[in-house]
Each structure stands twice: as structure tokens, then as C-alpha cells.
Amino acid sequence: MSKPTDLVQGTLDLLILKLLALQPLHGWAISRRLKSLSGDVLQVSEGSLYPALHKLEQEGWIQAEWKLTENNRRAKFYELTRLGRRQLETETAAWELLSSAITSVIRLSEA
């Protein structure tokens, strides 16, 4: 059973924040979107998404609202807060710094 921690530490948070920055989504949609956007590489197991969502909500980065889906079913939609938008910027910057550093290290060893 793969857990969110199987992803690089903290990346699930970053991915969720990024997805929600584009539009408010419910949990199911986030899970589908993650799957389709990243192929099967970044698969998050069903259900283990929710603890992460609730954690982000407690942090005040996202907030939830019950709305109707296009199929007329009630679902809990999450959207980014002002705090979350700032957090997304910080984490994106941190990620870019990290990944570029790692990439350059990897290139070094190949050369």
C-alpha cells in the first residue's frame, strides 16, 4: 500500500496546492487529475489523499465547501486560500531550487 510519504517528502502537498490553484476541486477529481496529469508515475492510493487534504485544511492553506457536482451530487470542494497561495509560491520556489540542484548534480556525474 503506497502512502503519500512514498512521494518525495512534501510533494503531495505541493501537487494538491497546484491543482487547486487552477480551480476548486473535490477529492475524487483531485485523485483523477493527479493520475491523468502525471501518468501512473505519481499514483496516490485512493483514500490516502484525504488525510493530506484535511491536514492542509487545518493549516489554513485550503478551505472546503459543499457544492453540487455536474452530475448533481453533493461533494466537498476544496479551494486555495490566500495563505495557501503564498504557501504554493514558497513551496514551488523551494522545489525548483531543489530539483535544479539535483539535476545539475546528476548531469555532473554523467559527464
Binding site: 492510493s45 485512493e46 483514500g47 488525510p51 484535511h54 487545518q58 493549516e59 453533493r74 490566500r82 495563505l83
Partner: protein, 900 residues
């Protein structure tokens, strides 16, 4: 950033706590939605509905677990767990209602007793002055060799106020024992209490009048000019129905018209805890109210009637203030050497003032009550700890199962503590109820005075806080040890048997210690109750040598009507003559204050003849009463040598005195006191000849140590405020109307104070007060003994049950019933023995404490008390052990072996 975070997080946390059901439902819905979508997805991919459902469940990987992970994220887990623990504990307690009720009652008695005793102690010692910033209000007292807590004279007050730099103001006040008050000029005056205060009194203490204004400083500067008065809130409510229009009105005090300028707030009944006073009057009006007309209040440097209080300056320490005051008194000594020999001064804070001055016995009493009550609470706690321990051991298997299923030890201890906490909370609440009863009981002390004197004992926030603290402390005390012990179970054995001893030799040590402590403590409490009862009893028995029954008393004070001294003396002469002629009266007497009376006795300074004074002093002092020639006959006090006063000992006759035997022996041990002389007020004073010696009796309270006492003829020491005593062979109360008629035939306006039988006064001092004390301590002792007996019974009964199989085997292989009895009873007897020995030591300690604080006990150890208490305690506890032990004898081996 952090604030914005909490802006989002706090509402969420509150929501998950307060609307837990809805949040849970939303979590269900959210997960269900995901699940439904998964299933639909599966069906769309061509799976059968059943397969799709199964696949979806698999994919979610344990829905319950997921939900729990989510709940962890809410960050309120610790709290909801606590609530769950509480709920569960409540449920498991409901399954043992008898035990629960017993425990709650035991804790309630302990806490309630302590609360009641503490409320008294609080009222007497700890409750802060009812003014803003009470912490920096200090008391200034004058000290001398014979009296460590005297007041200051008016002159001294002015000097101190002018010179002292340590304070933000120094105030003075003097209690007036009785003021004749009339709401208008025509009404007959009634007697109320009042207080003379300096003009800065309200301002310095920070008390804002509720209506009107306080005094201006100039209203206290010219003698007898400004007849203004501030009413107390109580007086305003009682006499003027809280009418704001009362301010500006004129009322009559001691025959003079006073203008009401303000009303003190309800929160400020005055600085003194016992007496409520109705009127605040400027010091400049003192001449109208003060008793002693022989000295000049405003001029005499040693007419010390003022209590001084001051507010310490912001940057001044108590030590600096003390140093400064000592310097000031030193300057007095240099300016007026004869007046200030051996005189000093002290600055005391509130607690020092209340514990060191005045009637020290009261607060010592209440401190002892509190200690004894805490001992009762301790017995209750140890008892409950014992009960919980046996209950927890009975649950060994349950706990082992929980541990085996993965519950952490900390979690289990928490759960067991939740149970103790609930018990303590219930006990605390019930304890408040017990406390109320106890306080009602303590308030029964009604002091036989016309003036409102009361100890304001009440269940206020401070006492409630103390209750809550005690409840929590007792929860830890009786809950933690059992919880820790019973979670230390070996799983393998724990799962086998319902009830297993933890390994190790000291397995029962804790319980045994608890029983020993209970026996010892309850023995101590019982001893205390007995000693107290017998101490008071012996005080009463020794209070002989004066008449207590068939006496009527009434206090009169013609100063209330502005009599001068000639008219006062004429009034008393006519009154005694008329009363002597009244049918049913066999004798009449005048006195400043009868034995055990509510006023304090005056003190005289004198130099005895032919007696070597200690080198460093130039006079000695003694309590004094001024009486007329009928006093000894009326009070039935024997003159052991010499003569009583006679009508010829008048104002112009040679000065005479009668002393008590203690006084005579003190100064003239050879027994020739009659005919000796002493000089009043130092070596140059008037010589007074001792003409008689009277029996020593108790003067201030029954059971007091014998004191020196001097009687002077009232004709040679005139006073306006006197008590008339009448001896009636018949019912003294039948004389009430004739006495009223006699007084009113002389002056229809004169109020009669403290009109009652003398027996009332005596009973108050010797019987009513002690009865309350003895009952209180007796109740504590009884409760403790009951708890100890129940605890011992429980221990032995539990042992018998636990060892049923062992006993069965022993009997099967030939043990006799006495062997079995010894087996189960032996330990109980040992425990009782040890407990009794320790209790005996504690009891002797309590007796020492009593002797040092309460009773004049010259008899040493009170053997009789121990002879009663110890054997009865021993027998009672043995019975408690023997009853359950008998059950062991009835065990049938065949049945016992089939146990489990």
C-alpha cells in the same frame, strides 16, 4: 502569518469539538462519495457491480483506518479521547453504584469539612482588606513591655502622619462601642456601632462613597466643629431604605445633630472583620463619643485609642517603614522620656496583624480545625485509594486484555485516572454541599451582644477554589498509585487468572500502609475530639467561685444622652436605690464589665509597695474592674480575707482596692496583702490601700490561666458605661419589666443594652462555643473511624475471597479453623496494632498542640482520654476484621477447590 493561520484553524477545531456529529457525517459523506465514484468507474470499465464494489473497497485500503488518519489531522484528538475516557469511566462506575456512592461520600466529607474549616480560617486570617490594592495596607502598632499591640494617641498620630515618609497616607480610626442613634430629634435613641476616622480615611484607603462624598481634610481639623457623618451601606439600607435622599439629612448621634454627607459602598463594611459599624465620624468629634472622660483625648500623649493603618509608598519596603517608625518613636523617647520608657512600635502586614493581635485563640482554633479536617480528607483519600486498588486488581484480566490488544500503558493509566477524576469531581461537588452545612454549623456561634458582631464565614470563590484544588489533589492522591500498579501486569499470567498478584515480595505493601495510616489518623482525630471535649469540660468545672444563675444584667450608657459626670453618678445612685426596693430583687451591683463580659477589661499601671520591681521597669500592670459595694454579694464571689467595699468608700474617702488571690500571692507571697498599698500611675501616683482579697475566678473566658485582677470602687473610678447586675431568688427574667420601668422612670430616653440573664453570657462562653467546636471535631473523628473500619473490613473480606482456594486446600489437608482464622486475621491485627501505636504518638502530639494553644492544662497527659479512645478503637477495628474473617471458616473445601 500565524494569526491568519489561526483564523482558519480555530473555527475548524471548535467545529470538530462542538459539532462532532456533523463533522463525522461530513467525513462519511466525503469518503462515501469517493467510494461511489470508484464503483461507478469500475462498472464503466465493465466489472459487475459486486466486483466493482469489492475492487473499490480494496483500493481504499481500509476505510475505517483512513477516517482515523483524517481525524488525527484535526488536532483535537487528545481532547476527544479525554471525553471518551470520561464517558467510559462514567459507564464503568455506573456498574458499581454502591462503591461509587461510598467513595463520593467519603471524599465529600473530607472536602466539605476542610472547606468549612478553611472558610473560618480565611475569614479570620487570609481574606484581604476590602479596599483596592489591599496588599500594601499595613498596620502600625505601639508596643510596650506588657502589651505588644497597643494603639497610638491622637498626638502621636499627628506626629507620625507629619513625619513619616514611607507611606502614601496614614489613617487612624477608633471603634466606638455604642452610639445613641436617632433618625430624627423626637425618636428614642437606639444603640448602634460606629467608628471615629481621620479625615483622610476614605481617600487613603481608596474607598469611593456610593452616594454623596467622603470627608474633606478640613472637616477633621477643628475640634467639635464639623458634625458630619458617612453611613455604612448596611445602615443606609436598614435605616433609610437605600434612599439617595438620605444624604443631606440630619440625624442625631449621642444627642447632637449630624449631617449625612455620604454612604460607604457595600464592598466596604469597615476594616475590622468582626464588628460591622454603621457610622463613620471624623476624629475631631471624638469628645462626644469616647468613654474615658478623665484624660484629654486630643492632648494626652498616652491616651492610646487609635488604630493606625497606612498605605506603603510604591518604592518602600516593610523593613524601611519599620526602621523609620522605630526612629520616630526614638524621637518621642528623647522628647518625653517618662512617657516612653520601654515603648516601641511595629509595622505589621495583614496576616501578622490578624494572627498576632487580639483574640489569638480564634484563629488558632480555626487553624487546628483546618489541620484536623485535612487529616480527615487524608483518611478518606487513603481509603478510596485502597478501594480502587482492590477494584483494579479485580480487573487484572480486563486490563491484560486491553494491553494485549495494543493499548499503551500511558493510555490505560489515563483512562483509570479519568475514573478517579470523575469520582473526585463528584466528591468535590458533594463536598461543597457538606461545606455549606458545616459553615451553617459554624455560624451558630451567636455572640450575645446588641451590636452586630459576626464572623463573616461564607462559601465564597476563595473557598470554592480551595474545594476544587483539594478535589484535584485527592484524585491524584488516591488514583495514581492504583492506576500505575495495576497496569504493570505480566500479560501471560494476567490473561490466565481474574486476579493476580503482581510479582515481588512487596506486593501488598501499599495496601497495608494505607490501612495503618487510616487507623493511625482516625485514632488521632478521635483523641483530638475527646481531648477537646474534656478540655472544655475541665474549664467549665474550674469556672467556680461566682454565681451564674438567677442574675439579670443590663448595660447602660447615659453618655448617649449627653449626661455629665455629676448627673451620671446621680442617675446610678437613684437607679440602684429604686432597684433594691423592687420586689423580687435580693441585691443589686454595678460593674464596668462582669466576669466573661463582652467588653475588654481596663488595665491599670501601678507600683506595689514592698515589692522589688524588676530593675528595668518602673511599673507593672493588671486588669481592673470598677464595682460598687453590692458586687461581691450579688456575684457570689467570696472575700477570703479583709473586707468588701462599703458605701463609705466614696469619692473623697481614702482610696481603696480589693485584689484577687492570684494578685495577692504574686506580689506578697507571705499572705499579708491586706493593708498593703500600691500607687497608681507610677511612683508619684495616688496611694491605694488593699482592704480585701477576693477568690480568683475566670475573667475573660472559662479555662483561662489565672490572672492578676484588681477591683476599684466605682465611686473612686467613675465611668458612665456600666452594667447593672440584679440577683433574684426567683426567675430573673420576671425582673425585665420592672427594670425597664425603673430606668425609664429616671429617663424615658435611655436605651437598655444587653438586657439578658447572666446565664446567657456564661453559656455562650462556656458551653455554646465549645459545643460547636467539639461537635465539629467529633464529626471528623467519627467519619474517620467509620472510614478506617470500612477500609479494614474491605481488606480482610477481599483477602478471604482471594485466598478461597488456598484456604480450601489447607482445610482439606487438615488445617483447623483456628489456623484458618489466624491466617486471615493475623495480618489485620498486626496492621491495627501498628496503626494504633502510630496514632497514639500522633494523639500525644495533638495534645501538646492543644495545651500550647487552647487549654490551660496543668494536668499533663490526659490518660483517661486514651483509656477510652484506644481500646474502643482497637475493638472496633478488630470487629471489622473479624466479621469477614468468619466467612473463611465457612468455606467448604470441595467447593473452594472448584474455584474458577
Amino acid at each position: 502569518m500565524r494569526i491568519e493561520h489561526w483564523l482558519y484553524a480555530l473555527p475548524l477545531k471548535f467545529r470538530s469539538l462542538l459539532r462532532r456529529d456533523q463533522v463525522e457525517r461530513e467525513l462519511d459523506d466525503e469518503m462515501q462519495f469517493h467510494l461511489d465514484q470508484l464503483i461507478e468507474d469500475g462498472i464503466a470499465r465493465g466489472l459487475s457491480p459486486g466486483d466493482a464494489r469489492a475492487a473499490a473497497w480494496r483500493a481504499m485500503g481500509g476505510l475505517t483506518q483512513r477516517k482515523d488518519e483524517v481525524r488525527d489531522m484535526w488536532g483535537v484528538r487528545w481532547f476527544t479521547d479525554l471525553v471518551d475516557d470520561m464517558r467510559f469511566a462514567l459507564r464503568s462506575l455506573r456498574r458499581v453504584p454502591g462503591l461509587t456512592v461510598f467513595i463520593v461520600l467519603a471524599i465529600a466529607v473530607g472536602i466539605g469539612m476542610t472547606a468549612a474549616a478553611f472558610s473560618l480560617l480565611d475569614a479570620l486570617v487570609f481574606r484581604p482588606y476590602p479596599v483596592p490594592r489591599p496588599g500594601n495596607v499595613v498596620n502600625l502598632v505601639s508596643t510596650s513591655r506588657d502589651n505588644a499591640f497597643e494603639g497610638f494617641s491622637y498626638r502621636e498620630y499627628l506626629d507620625i502622619r507629619a513625619a513619616a515618609k514611607s507611606y502614601d497616607g496614614v489613617v487612624a480610626n477608633s471603634t466606638i462601642m455604642g452610639i445613641g442613634f436617632a433618625p430624627d430629634t423626637k425618636a428614642t435613641p437606639r444603640v448602634q456601632a460606629g467608628m471615629l476616622v481621620s479625615g483622610n480615611y476614605f481617600r487613603v484607603l481608596g474607598v469611593e462613597p456610593q452616594v454623596g462624598r467622603g470627608f474633606r481634610d478640613d472637616e477633621d481639623q477643628v475640634q467639635a466643629r464639623d458634625a458630619v457623618v458617612v453611613l455604612s451601606w448596611e445602615c443606609w439600607k436598614r435605616e433609610f431604605a437605600s434612599d439617595p435622599g438620605a444624604v443631606g439629612r440630619s440625624i442625631r448621634l449621642n444627642g447632637r445633630d449630624f449631617t449625612v454627607i455620604g454612604v460607604a459602598p457595600k464592598s466596604f463594611p469597615g476594616m475590622f472583620i468582626f464588628a460591622r459599624n454603621d457610622f463613620f465620624i471624623p476624629l475631631a468629634m471624638a469628645k462626644l463619643f469616647l468613654a474615658n472622660s478623665q484624660t484629654d483625648f486630643f492632648e494626652s500623649r498616652d491616651d492610646r485609642q487609635l488604630a493606625l493603618r497606612a498605605r506603603l509608598g510604591a518604592h518602600t519596603s516593610l523593613a524601611e517603614a519599620r526602621h523609620e517608625l522605630a526612629g520616630l518613636v526614638g524621637a518621642f523617647q528623647r522628647s518625653f522620656p517618662p512617657l516612653y520608657r520601654d515603648r516601641g512600635a511595629a509595622v505589621l502586614n495583614q496576616v501578622q496583624m490578624r494572627t498576632q493581635t487580639g483574640d489569638v485563640k480564634n484563629w488558632k482554633f480555626s487553624a487546628i480545625f483546618t489541620i484536623l479536617a485535612l487529616a480527615t480528607l487524608l483518611v478518606a483519600c487513603t481509603n478510596v485509594a485502597g478501594l480502587l486498588l482492590s477494584r483494579a486488581r479485580g480487573r487484572t484480566r480486563e486490563i491484560a486484555v486491553r494491553l494485549a490488544l495494543g493499548a499503551g500503558r500511558a493510555r490505560l493509566v489515563r483512562f483509570l485516572m479519568a475514573e478517579s477524576l470523575i469520582l473526585a469531581l463528584l466528591g468535590g461537588i458533594a463536598g461543597v454541599a457538606v461545606g455549606y452545612v458545616g459553615i451553617g454549623f459554624l455560624s451558630q456561634f451567636s455572640i450575645p451582644s446588641d451590636l452586630p458582631i459576626s464572623i463573616p464565614i461564607r462559601m465564597d470563590t476563595r473557598v470554592l477554589l480551595a474545594c476544587a484544588t483539594l478535589a484535584m489533589a485527592s484524585a491524584v492522591l488516591f488514583g495514581l498509585a492504583p492506576a500505575l500498579q495495576c497496569t504493570r501486569v505480566e500479560l501471560a499470567t494476567g490473561l490466565h487468572a481474574a486476579d493476580v498478584d503482581p510479582p515481588g515480595r512487596h506486593r501488598m505493601w501499599g495496601r497495608n500502609a494505607l490501612i495503618v495510616a487510616q487507623v493511625a489518623m482516625s485514632l488521632m482525630l478521635l483523641t483530638a475530639a475527646f481531648l477537646m471535649a474534656r478540655g472544655f469540660q475541665s474549664g467549665v468545672e474550674r469556672a467556680t467561685g461566682f454565681r451564674k444563675d438567677h442574675l439579670l444584667m443590663v448595660r447602660l450608657d447615659p453618655r448617649l444622652l449627653q449626661y455629665d459626670s455629676t448627673r451620671t453618678q446621680q442617675f446610678y445612685r437613684l437607679l440602684t436605690e429604686r432597684l433594691c426596693d423592687t420586689p423580687g430583687v435580693s441585691s443589686v451591683a454595678l460593674t464596668l464589665n462582669p466576669p466573661l463580659g463582652l467588653d475588654t477589661f481596663e488595665r491599670i499601671q501601678f507600683v506595689p509597695e514592698d515589692f522589688e520591681l524588676p530593675r528595668d521597669r518602673d511599673h507593672v500592670t493588671s486588669s481592673m474592674d470598677a464595682i460598687d459595694e453590692g458586687f461581691f454579694e450579688t456575684m457570689g464571689i467570696a472575700i477570703t480575707s479583709g473586707r468588701a467595699f462599703s458605701a463609705s468608700d466614696g469619692a473623697n474617702a481614702p482610696r481603696v482596692a480589693i485584689v484577687n488571690e492570684h494578685f495577692a500571692k504574686h506580689y506578697w507571697p507571705n499572705g499579708d496583702a491586706v493593708g498593703r498599698r500600691f500607687r497608681l500611675e507610677g511612683r508619684g501616683g495616688a496611694p491605694v490601700e488593699i482592704v480585701g482579697v477576693a477568690r480568683t475566678i475566670p475573667y475573660r473566658s472559662t479555662g483561662e490561666k489565672p490572672i492578676d485582677f484588681v477591683y476599684l470602687p466605682v465611686a473612686q473610678h467613675p465611668s458612665a458605661r456600666l452594667v447593672v447586675l440584679l440577683h433574684a431568688p426567683g426567675d430573673p427574667l420576671a425582673l425585665v419589666e420592672p427594670v425597664k420601668a425603673a430606668v425609664h422612670s429616671l429617663d424615658p430616653d435611655l436605651p437598655l443594652l444587653e438586657l439578658r440573664t447572666y446565664e446567657d453570657l456564661y453559656r455562650y462562653d462556656a458551653i455554646e462555643g465549645p459545643r460547636v467546636a467539639v461537635r465539629l471535631v467529633g464529626t471528623m473523628g467519627a467519619a474517620a473511624v467509620f472510614l478506617a473500619i470500612a477500609g479494614l473490613y474491605g481488606l480482610v473480606a477481599y483477602n478471604v475471597t482471594r485466598r478461597t482456594r488456598e484456604i480450601g486446600i489447607r482445610m482439606a489437608i487438615g488445617a483447623s479453623s483456628s489456623d484458618v482464622l489466624r491466617l486471615v486475621l493475623g495480618k489485620g491485627i498486626t496492621l491495627v496494632g501498628i496503626g494504633t501505636a502510630i496514632g497514639l504518638v500522633l494523639g500525644v502530639g495533638v495534645e501538646r498542640l492543644f495545651d500550647a494553644t487552647l487549654f490551660d492544662n496543668s494536668a499533663g497527659v490526659d490518660v483517661v482520654s486514651y483509656l477510652i479512645v484506644v481500646p474502643s478503637m482497637f475493638l472496633a477495628t478488630l470487629l471489622a476484621a473479624w466479621l469477614p474473617a468468619r466467612r473463611a471458616l465457612r468455606i467448604a473445601p470441595s467447593q473452594a477447590l472448584r474455584w474458577e
